[in-house]
Symmetry: C2
Subunit: 196 residues, 2 copies
DNA sequence: GCCGTTATGGACCGCACGGTCAAGAACGCG
DNA sequence: CGCGTTCTTGACCGTGCGGTCCATAACGGC
């Protein structure tokens, strides 16, 4: 009966997400979004509402992909929990010091740009990093149960510290710090986790 | 002979700085800046050039105040180097988890918003955090010379790790993490520095 | 007190923004 | 094949943007 959509919603969100990621929220115009997604204004507004709603949808999309990737890496990946955690932190350090690292993280960038004035962005940011903290804590707990880290180590405390380090590395990578430095920070942070 | 300026350049820069800090670069309009500084367009443009140049001036101003405060705290403050460093890191943790903490750091916010497209902002960001790393390393070196931290500890490596932690705390504070968490992260990071 | 010089305020400009809307195209169904 | 429904396209709107400019005001020197 009705005419079906001529586009894939996920693809459009991914394109919009990339655009916001590269340019920031305020600096991304509707024309940018139109050319990035290939859709006309009418379609965009019909499907997503206004610019801000589209942004939040793109943010949610990003958040989901972000957390899914991390969960599968840290909780279901190959190797022992501690091994997975080490690989994760080192991979962050590698990624942060590449050209891609200059983009940073969409959620972090959005927080920095809009935090004070956009409670919806703030809430998404908070819940995402709280979730990341939880995943790190779970992984550390598994590592502790296996004796890979000290029995006295508090997984929650270590998770928070690693969360701060990881976000710090990402940020420093965004400012163009070198790969040697991000690697060393990651290594030092992992060394600082109490072992047996 | 000429008519003198009717305003204090530093005050104007501070006001503009605050405005950019609260709203971000793109979302701060010239009207915002005019009402914040009390100056008309003609005066602003006559004294600083266009919006972008004014922004860079405000950024430089911020950077200078930022680094001066940190240098005086870490290198010339009262108490031993390690004591000063502890107080500094804990103060970051306290500040990050207040209403003020939601504002974050102007340089960090600007980097996140403009990084990919504004090399001048990137350069300022990079040099500022490199300078902060240097100050931390100097302070740690003094602490090591006094035997407050382990002789084997590498001041540069520890400085980088602390830099990442500090920026991570600041970022997490910006996302609204609680004070208990920022305090614990700071404490854990300080505990992780190798002692005697 | 006059004059040269610069600062000032605000009118003004062109543009691009976010958003609306209506006319028509494309599809599934009967 | 034609109908109803929805999607799509693009012209259009008002607004606020960054930036320019000029008439005027305020000052210091003589």
């Amino acid at each position: 009966m009705p005419r079906p959509r001529g586009f894939d919603e996920e693809e459009v969100l991914a394109a919009a997400c990339n655009r916001f990621w590269d340019n920031g929220y305020a600096a991304t115009s509707l024309d940018d979004l139109m050319s990035a997604t290939g859709l006309g204004k009418g379609s965009l507004y019909g499907a997503f509402g206004d610019k801000h709603q589209l942004f939040l949808r793109a943010l949610d999309d990003y958040r989901e992909r972000f957390l899914c990737g991390i969960r599968s890496t840290l909780l279901e990946g190959t190797g022992s929990p501690w091994r997975r955690l080490k690989a994760f932190v080192m991979a962050i350090a590698e990624g942060a010091s590449t050209e891609q690292g200059l983009r940073g993280c969409l959620l972090a960038n959005s927080s920095a740009e809009l935090n004070n004035r956009d409670p919806e962005v703030l809430a998404r940011s908070r819940s995402t990093f709280a979730a990341l903290e939880d995943v790190l804590a779970q992984c550390l707990e598994m590592a502790r149960d296996r004796g890979e880290i000290a029995a006295e180590a508090d997984p929650r405390e270590q998770a928070r510290l690693l969360l701060a380090v990881v976000e710090g590395i990402r940020f420093l990578g965004q400012t163009g710090i070198g790969r040697a430095a991000t690697r060393q920070i990651a290594r030092s942070a992992l060394d600082a986790v109490p072992k047996g």
